[in-house]
Point group: C2
Chain length 250, copies 2
Amino acid sequence: MKLKVYADRMSQPSRAVIIFCKVNGIDFEEIRVDLSKRQQLSPEFKEINPLQKVPAIVDGRFKLFESHAILIYLACSFRGVADHWYPADVSRKAKIHSVLDWHHSNLRQGAVGLILNSVLAPVFGLPLDPQAAAESEKLVSLSLSKIESVSLKGNGRFLLGGFQPSIADLSLVCEILQLELLDEKDRSRILGPHKKVQKWIEDTRNATRPHFDEAHDILYKAKAKFQLQRSVAANDERESSIKKVLPSKM
Amino acid sequence: MKLKVYADRMSQPSRAVIIFCKVNGIDFEEIRVDLSKRQQLSPEFKEINPLQKVPAIVDGRFKLFESHAILIYLACSFRGVADHWYPADVSRKAKIHSVLDWHHSNLRQGAVGLILNSVLAPVFGLPLDPQAAAESEKLVSLSLSKIESVSLKGNGRFLLGGFQPSIADLSLVCEILQLELLDEKDRSRILGPHKKVQKWIEDTRNATRPHFDEAHDILYKAKAKFQLQRSVAANDERESSIKKVLPSKM
């Protein structure tokens, strides 16, 4: 029975799992769980993942959730996955676990908070929260500094000095790509100072082409939509200001 | 060269690593990094863990941080660690990864926020924040409900239906023990509704005795100290109220 991947490509860990499968020639069926329609809360999906989050996989009778755990399981279970993705060597594997663990409470926590509070909240019927967004931005910036000074400090092109990507590169780069949803000036302010991070993103993209771009297509479309909404809102605000000024001059 | 474990037993992941080593007869040297004295920020410790957090280990020339990664590394690297701690079977291992990954953004995030904002903040020169504590308490309670209804739903005594503990049991139970620092009525309100969780804590404690109690000794001493501070503060407040009332009656 073919592997089933339950995912929404708007979710960064979902994209990491999809790209990993495609790059490694793992045959799978992608089943969309539309987060904007809250499909993750449906009774059907609760049978797949009782914690009601994407991504989740079903491999025969085996069900699994949490993207890092899924990536490790796929790397260990499917033939043809090159060693660099999740090395057999205990020490190298340990370093990958360490980066992935760190990710949860740092880059991921910051990026999720930033995007939710500055872009996505209205999609889920919540108000934007600039103060929470600012707090999250601090954590994202600190995380990017740490990646640059600690994990990318070697001569390699990838995390931990590697010359080929691991599941940690894929997971973290997909997280950072979510910043595409920000207003361009905000994204530039955050990513601009981190040249090594920018190069690493490009290296990871190149190492996983064309699947990387294909999986992120939905994100770029959403980026364009949010950008248009911002332009319209800014225009409306400008017109409203002009209307407020004009009567007083007439 | 003997394994070095850099830890502060007031930190729950530090305790998990220490208990794991002791239970499994791993010979190690414990080096205290006193968080209340900010020793994790010293240049010497930055050489061990550039991210300046405990626990961290040094095994020969190999350095590692992040407690989950450390527990996995120790289970794979040291002879004599029984399979149930971190099974060789890919599917069982994947389920342990899944619980550990979930831990970061749920139980751990909630427990750290709750204890910091309701007990420990003054130790680090910060103000207590009852609103942030209340938000964190919600996440802790939700996490305990999920553990009870999802991870402990089988017939086994441990997570995922096991009859012997894994590194996931040890990590999560050490996290929950941190709630000992709360005022007793707050701790009872949070843990009271979760009978399966309470039994699981006792089962994990029993399976790792006497090392579990020994590693938590410092926590119980801190609990008594904070409880005394609360009693003194409450007493001062009562006396101050009486003084305010008395003059008006004189």
